[in-house]
């Protein structure tokens, strides 16, 4: 099993640490990569591509030095390699206009407002990674325990019948 990569783009160190800690429970199936701005996030994506690691989820702040989170997500949406990658904005500062752009142009999958609650963040990550696994992973079995088990099992049963 390859671990799924969650890319977390956030410019504040303390916030990165907090997100990492909240996502620690997914450790057996997930590797969390962090970047403090979009340029670095692109380097991480390139490394993951070189190692053929599946990027399941991009968790992105909006207001950062350099490229904004929404612009990054839009760019990602236009790249076929990341069509299945789930895109989530986690921010306290995206205005209506940016958010609308993220939904319409980046096909944003979820919006998490700061400050967040650990359980909410974990729930969103579980659901989004489940969607990714259903869409892009051949064998969902290793992920049943930590993601949405019933849905994955249903999927396995359905595709099993087809075979």
């Amino acid at each position: 099993m390859k671990k799924l990569v969650i890319l977390c783009v956030e410019d504040e160190g303390e916030v990165r640490e907090a997100i990492l800690r909240d996502l620690a429970l997914f450790k057996p199936i997930v590797r969390v990569e962090t970047a403090d701005q979009v340029d670095e996030a692109k380097e991480v994506l390139a490394e993951c591509a070189a190692d053929r690691e599946p990027v399941g989820l991009v968790l992105c702040d909006h207001l950062m030095p350099g490229t904004s989170g929404v612009d990054f997500l839009i760019e990602l949406q236009q790249n076929a390699a990341y069509a299945a990658t789930r895109k989530v904005l986690i921010t306290g500062q995206a205005g209506l206009e940016d958010t609308v752009r993220a939904v319409n142009e980046a096909r944003l999958h979820h919006y998490i407002a700061k400050p967040w609650q650990a359980a909410d963040l974990q729930g969103v990550v579980r659901d989004q990674l489940t969607e990714y696994v259903l869409a892009a992973v051949d064998d969902p079995t290793p992920y049943i325990g930590l993601l949405d088990g019933p849905r994955l099992l249903q999927h396995i049963a359905a595709t099993g019948r087809d075979r």
């Binding site: 640490e17 962090t34 403090d36 670095e40």
Partner: protein, 488 residues
């Protein structure tokens, strides 16, 4: 035999007397009629059927226009009334009312006609009286017209003065509204800052206490100082950027040949395999349990560091908010300009992420003024600079003493102000932000100028593409009343 021209040279009274004498002679002394003051001799649109010759007393001729009496002739009515009706062979043009007791004759058109045919003398006299009456009335019309023109001119002047007054009132009102808004925002900010102050102070102190107690307990913890070392590590090590963290993890993964294990060591703040061996030598359990334990130690320190850092940031923000919005409505006191600039910058922190801020603060004495009002100046100028640069570029703040004044320059690297706009930027409601509601609606520099006027200060602007400088000059606070206190 008299001619018309000869008659025209005679005085009024002589001509009129002769006209009446002729009429009397031909018509056999027609009856004299009398009327008291305020009687109507005829009304507009009456059919008069002749003329009225006024022998004594005065009348006035008026019309009703829009329900109002407008008097056209009183002195200029003349001796012969019903003239216009006679010349037009129509109904009365005016209303005729006596203003004194009067004596008059009524002569029908037929009688007049007959008399005129019989006497050439009467013809000349009547024509003369008629012409003089008409001449007087038309002179009167010219006077009236002149009066109307003068009145119109006065009206136009008054209208312009009113329009100016209205515009000034609107400006004053807009400014009141704007400064009212600012004052209200200031009060709100001060209120919020005040409410936040106690909890944030408590968080700050609590974090300190936690650290103190934790380190004291850790020092006595029977694990050869491992807990203590891990806490100190997390608290004191310079936090790595995400790029540095990744590089370290990669290097570790290469030497260890195990990506997962490298990740776990990094998360626990452990440098390498030897470091892990040393730290975990006396810990119970499997390597998995030991690294978990070390990571927990490290995370406690990280959480404490995060709490302290963030609480300090909130504390700084609250402090700036409080001094920024200090409710000193117009009170004059020595003001430290550097403090005001720093507070203002901190409040703009989220717009300064991509702006390089250069502070070239000189040694300047305090100025006399109101902190709140001066902060409004910095706020407006910095907001404009950031708008011009679209929050990206270089912002230079310079302060320097200059004779008996302090100069504050705020320079941005934006595209500059078009020469055509340069003279208009201080006008009320002038804005190049088309319909975008951000910091204000074109009141900014107008308010700045007004505040500076109250502080006996000035503002100048120089602008070229890539470099726009607003220079504010403020007089130094009175040296006798204020102790010199410079702050770098």
């Amino acid at each position: 035999m008299r001619t018309l021209l000869a008659t025209l040279n005679e005085p009024d009274a002589a001509v009129e007397d002769r006209m009446i004498a002729e009429l009397d002679a031909i018509l056999g002394q027609p009856l004299r009629q009398t009327a008291t003051t305020g009687e109507m001799l005829f009304r507009q649109d009456d059919s008069i059927g002749g003329i009225i010759i006024l022998l004594q007393g005065q009348v006035e001729l008026f019309k009703r226009i829009n329900n109002q009496e407008v008097i056209f002739h009183s002195q200029t009515a003349g001796r012969i009334l019903g003239l216009l009706a006679l010349t037009r062979l129509a109904r009365a043009f005016f209303n005729c009312r006596t203003v004194t007791a009067v004596t008059y004759l009524r002569v029908t058109t037929a009688d007049l006609d007959r008399a005129l045919q019989q006497s050439e003398k009467l013809q000349y006299a009547f024509q003369t009286v008629l012409m003089r009456s008409m001449a007087r009335r038309s002179t009167r019309l010219v006077e009236l017209q002149t009066e109307v023109l003068a009145l119109n001119r006065n009206l136009a002047q008054e209208r312009d003065a009113l329009a100016r007054a209205l515009q000034e009132l609107r400006q004053a009102q807009a400014m009141l509204v704007e400064s009212g808004k600012m004052a209200m925002l200031g009060q709100l900010a001060a209120g919020v800052a005040h409410e936040l102050n106690n909890p944030v102070a408590a968080i700050n102190r609590s974090a300190d206490f936690l650290q103190e107690d934790l380190l004291a307990l850790a020092a006595e913890w029977p694990d050869n100082g491992v807990l203590c070392e891990m806490l100190q590590r997390a608290l004191t090590r310079k936090p790595l950027s995400s790029r540095e963290q990744r590089a370290r993890r990669r290097a570790l993964a290469e030497t260890l040949g195990d990506v997962d294990w490298a990740e776990r060591l990094c998360a626990a703040g452990i440098d390498d395999a030897a470091d892990f061996e040393r730290l975990s030598a006396d810990l119970p359990g499997t390597p998995d349990q030991r690294i978990d334990r070390l990571q927990r130690y490290y995370q406690i320190g990280q959480a404490l560091r995060g709490t302290r850092n963030c609480a300090r940031r909130i504390g700084d923000l609250v402090k700036s908010l409080r001094s920024y919005s200090r409710a000193d409505s117009g009170q004059t006191a020595p003001v430290d300009i550097h403090e005001g600039l720093e507070d203002t910058l901190l409040l703009f922190a989220n717009r300064l992420r991509e702006v390089q801020v250069e502070k070239r603060f000189g040694s300047i004495p305090p100025v006399a003024g109101s902190t709140g009002e001066l902060n409004q100046i910095w706020t407006n100028l910095i907001a404009n600079a950031l708008d011009a640069m679209q929050n990206r570029g270089t912002l230079v703040l310079v302060t320097e003493p200059h004779g008996n004044e302090v100069v504050v320059r705020i320079q941005d690297s934006g595209p500059g102000i078009a020469p055509a706009h340069r003279t208009r930027i201080f006008e009320v409601n002038f804005s190049t932000r088309q319909g975008r509601v951000e910091f204000g609606l074109g009141m900014g520099l107008f308010i700045v100028r007004n505040i500076l006027a109250r502080h006996h200060g000035r503002i100048d602007v120089e602008s070229e593409p890539g470099r726009t400088v607003f220079s504010v000059c403020l007089p130094v606070a009175d040296k006798h009343s204020i102790p010199a206190a410079n702050k770098e």
